[in-house]
């Protein structure tokens, strides 16, 4: 356990350096903020173009801000596989080194989460300071527990995707982006689940991200649609915790299945060009 934690910490530092040291801080920081800020401004301009009702904006803005963590963490482990295997061609050496690959991948996922948190914090701060968003309530304990549970759940799902990434070519990068997009649709990040057609809503309820975002909004006293109104906060927390446990089993099973298949097919050091 101690060794696994040390591996994860080393991997965190390595990934953080890879993410940040390609440029000086004055170049890196604007780059880290460019995507989340532009994505949020996109929603802002859409709100103005369509003259959206006033109660739409705050939960949508903050939902979009928190959602930044989803594609970053979800794709973090898979991207580590693709980058180390295809680009740096180091993945086979990680297998040769003592220790397990999973803590190494988890360290990468956490570093990408930390990277994405910069965007989350910037968008939340800009919403409050520049756009006048006010949160009626603030429950820090609920916010912290929800963030931790959501992060654990996303890391577990990301491990499943990493198992899949072992089996696909380097366009697996698009796989993680696309799956992030699916969660964007089925999680009510920027619109209430009520807007989805009734036959699609069960998919939204089956997404842990839906419950995660709902709890994050509740921790700030925000309300977005009525589809989840009937579920109390403790019940929503229990549902998210249940999803986290389920995703932990799923992630582990999918990773080991993908890894076993990749070994048999000789894909652990495969590179693709097209």
């Amino acid at each position: 356990m101690k060794r696994a934690l040390r591996n994860a910490a080393t991997s965190f530092v390595l990934c953080w350096k890879k993410e940040t040291n390609w440029a000086g801080a004055w170049v890196y920081l604007p780059f880290a903020l460019l995507r989340p800020v532009a994505g949020a401004l996109l929603i802002f301009v859409m709100v103005r173009a369509a003259s959206a009702p006033p109660d739409y904006f705050a939960p949508a803005w903050l939902g979009n801000a928190f959602f930044q963590l989803v594609p970053a963490v979800l794709g973090g482990l898979a991207w580590a596989v693709i980058e180390d295997r295809e680009r740096y061609q180091m993945f086979k050496y990680i297998y040769l080194a003592p220790g397990n690959v999973v803590p190494y991948l988890m360290g990468h996922g956490l570093a990408r989460a930390a990277h994405a948190l910069i965007g989350v914090a910037a968008l939340a701060a800009a919403g409050v300071a520049l756009l006048g968003i006010r949160t009626p309530e603030f429950h820090p304990a609920l916010l912290a527990v929800t963030l931790a549970l959501g992060l654990a759940c996303l890391l577990a799902l990301s491990l499943a995707l990493a198992g899949l990434a072992l089996l696909v070519a380097r366009h697996g990068h698009f796989m993680t982006e696309s799956i992030g997009g699916v969660f964007f649709l089925f999680s009510g990040a920027v619109f209430p689940v009520d807007v989805l057609p009734a036959w699609i809503r069960p998919l939204a309820f089956a997404s842990p991200v839906t419950w995660w975002l709902e709890l994050l909004r509740r921790s700030l006293g925000l309300h977005f649609g009525s589809a989840l109104d009937g579920v109390s906060t403790p019940a929503a927390l229990a549902i998210l915790a249940g999803f986290t446990v389920f995703c932990a089993f799923l992630g582990r099973a999918a990773w080991f299945a993908g890894e076993r298949k990749a070994r048999w097919k000789g894909l652990l050091d495969a590179t693709t060009a097209y």
Partner: protein, 269 residues
């Protein structure tokens, strides 16, 4: 003449690699075709949540169709030079007696299959799931504008690829930084005039901003256009020529600079 034939053969060969690779592993069909259509649907639901007029949903569908072409230019052409450098293929391109533009053209044409498929799926989603209605009378003009937009966009892609000759590990970040900011500036999901005249005018240097705006006016009958269609078509024609010329010059300049600075074969830095 033989030079032209060689270049066309090189473009065809480079395109063929993409076609073969696409058929070798079909997982991309799912991840690059069907799932992005769901992201487009998401923006339709955002407008529904806002209670926006139905024409906004049509704007999203058209923008979603065009996003694939931008991603093909960005990742399949411009950033591809960086990947080729990391894989060691760039050296071979540089030694071959062919133009770099022929290689880039091949990449663009080879990637077009997947992009066209993605666009068709989004179009079908728009027509059948979201009931988008097109102005039949304007479709021929819209198609002409689409071709002009593609010509100038791929010229821009060739220009951008020259920059990627110089990039190190930051290349990935540069390419990522050209996604959401471009979605915003090109007005993929809203009429570009909503950005205000100054920003919209500056964004018009990017061919997709003008192309999408003109196609919305002709194919969807939008009255929220930024400039008259004729002006936008003329500007696109001018951009096509400008980017074509600039691409040629920039590729040569950046190649020389990369050679001088020793960055042409530098890997993993």
């Amino acid at each position: 003449m033989s030079s032209l034939r060689n270049n066309l053969r090189a473009a065809g060969a480079r395109a063929w690699i993409r076609v073969v690779a696409a058929n070798r592993e079909l997982s991309w069909v799912w991840f690059e075709t069907f799932l992005p259509a769901l992201t487009t649907a998401c923006y339709v639901f955002i407008y529904r949540a806002m209670g926006a007029a139905p024409e906004f949903e049509s704007y999203v569908i058209l923008g979603g169709i065009m996003i694939g072409f931008w991603l093909n230019v960005l990742w399949g052409m411009a950033a591809q030079f960086f990947w080729e450098k990391d894989m060691g293929n760039l050296d071979i391109y540089m030694m071959a007696p062919i133009s770099r533009m022929a290689i880039l053209l091949g990449m663009a044409l080879g990637g077009m299959t997947g992009t066209a498929m993605r666009s068709v799926v989004i179009l079908l989603l728009g027509i059948f799931a979201f009931r988008v209605r097109f102005e039949v009378a304007g479709l021929a003009t819209a198609f002409g504008i689409f071709l002009l937009t593609m010509a100038s966009l791929y010229g821009l892609g060739m220009m951008l690829s020259s920059l990627f000759l110089l990039f190190g590990r930051g290349a990935q970040r540069w390419a990522e930084a050209a996604q959401e900011p471009i979605y915003l500036l090109a007005g993929f999901y809203f009429p570009v005039r909503n950005l205000g005249f100054g920003v919209a005018a500056a964004a018009s240097l990017f061919p997709l901003a003008l192309g999408i705006d003109a196609m919305r006016q002709t194919a969807l009958g939008s009255r929220a256009g930024f400039l008259p269609v004729g002006v936008e078509a003329a500007a696109l024609a001018a951009l096509t020529v400008l980017f074509g010329l600039l691409a040629r010059t920039m590729l040569r300049t950046m190649e020389n600079r990369a050679k001088t600075e020793g960055k042409l074969t530098l890997k993993w830095q």
